[in-house]
Amino acid sequence: MTSIDAGQDSAGRQAIAGSNATPDHSEGMGYLETLPRRVVTTYIPLILILIVLLFPFYWMALTAVKPDHQLIEMDKVSPFWTWEPTFKHIHKLLFESDYPRWLWNTMFIATCATFISLVASVLAAYAIVRLRFKGAVTVGALIFLAYLVPPSILFIPLATVIYKVGLFDTPLALILVYPTILIPFSTWLLMGYFKTIPYELEECALIDGATRAQILIKIILPLAVPGLISAFIFSFTLCWNEFIYALTFLSSTQNKTVPVAIVNEFVDGDIYRWGSLMAGALAGSLPLVILYAFFVEHYVSAMTGAVKE
């Protein structure tokens, strides 16, 4: 991805591969640093950064279980902890709002869009990397360029298109539009995985009379499972995260996705709204964080894989 031209070896990969050519098992020079020095130069800055990065989530979770009166009486009790947690806000969210419905919308849209994108990306990536049809390099570059077109400049014309074809305020609108964000990313990620699969496997299968489709399904896909998982969960997260299309294309409360619904439906003039707002934010984030906890390695390889390629 460093170079638009997929055919040439990009500077990035060369530079990195160059230093990585021979496996190196040396331990580095960490042992030269004394402990007090390490505490000052490494641990303290690291802990400070971690606190800043994680504090908003702590605050979100704490506010969600704090009783209302503690939210504003900051001078009587320390605001950093609560001894009387309440599940009032979470209960209200789960049983008195449309939250389960929004969660279902989000999951449904994210799953469908991810599935469509994966099928399209697998085919496209395989064709670009292995079929080497005329113009494959150009097509690869075009797909990369598509990655750089941000939703913020597309939502206005897309809104008119969606409205004209009668998909306004339907989940189908988002299911069809989200792949434009996911396909470029997944295709590039999968291209990287497919490139690592040896040609010889395919040649053997071709000699044995397998068609391209059989090769793709029976040989390439099983070998690219880690890549598929990475692409799937990362795409799923991107769908869940997406805001501007969902905000523009959906209008009725019951059709909304979680992020849009929390922003629009929970914001009222009530001074005590923070409890339910934070409960909503927490409940909207938790499913993703749990998914993430199970697939950390895949997330990291998805992020770095698509960038390094």
Binding site: S26, L46, A146, V263, V296, V307
Partner: protein
Amino acid sequence: MANSAVEMPARLTQARSERTAWQKLKVSPNWLGFWYMVPAMGILILFLAYPLGLGVWLSFTDTKIGRDGVFVGLENYEWLAEDSVFWTSVFNTLLYTTVASAAKFVIGLYLALLLNKHLPFKAMIRALVLIPFIVPTVLSAIAFWWIYDAQFSIISWSLRQLGWIDHNINFLGDVWNARWSTIFANVWRGVPFIAITLLAGLQTVSPSLYEAATLDGATPWQRFRHITYPLLTPIIAVVMTFSVLFTFTDFQLIWALTRGGPVNATHLMATLSYQRAIIAGQLGEGAAISTAMIPFLLAAIGIAWYGLQTRKWQQGGSND
């Protein structure tokens, strides 16, 4: 559908052996490649390339919601050129992008260097660092909204307890406070991505290079400047291009935190175009604001690409 489309030309040219022609086509990489590309290209052309063109066209019309427009030439742009709110949004976008990207780069690189050291619980720390990136931006923005609350902000409270300030800070109510607050939230959201991708680059740098440099008497700064930085440049260029692009076109964070307020002080071009196009219904004018973003985006991509080419040239023929 595939069969009929393929057999038609085959029958015309080679009536005698249409089966072999079909079989030839079936294994022809060009033809097969075309069919494999259809789903991806279909979606991208219909919902990405076409709207991109349509957006530019809309910016030359006076389309409103519920009413087709007519071509009005550059009227929308002339209108915008005299609109001080538009110029404020351009200023805000540039300020937001420059300051936030620079801060994200410095903090992200620093965090990556820290994480690249020998640490206990390294995997867990790395997993924790990424959480802000995983949680939907709007939802973490809401948490920031509460943290920045004018009356009950935890930051104001803590600073008051420490005795550093006398009265609450009006984070989102004051023009410059609001700008810095949104920039901070954006940096907070963006640092993990940059740190983790740069860390992946750092991990491929062989430690023996540092050992050799140390034996030659290189200082830590020299090791960073002459080993880490050159080897990392390509990844930095790619990551920062992405970061700049997504910061420049940011919408969610501002929309959830300030909706462009106070008095348009935090409107970015993206939020202003939403405001004008969807809320006020002036699709043409909104499209003109979006289209005005394109030259900036092209410039950012161009600079990154140019940087990579220069880098390639500096490193000489060994790259190709």
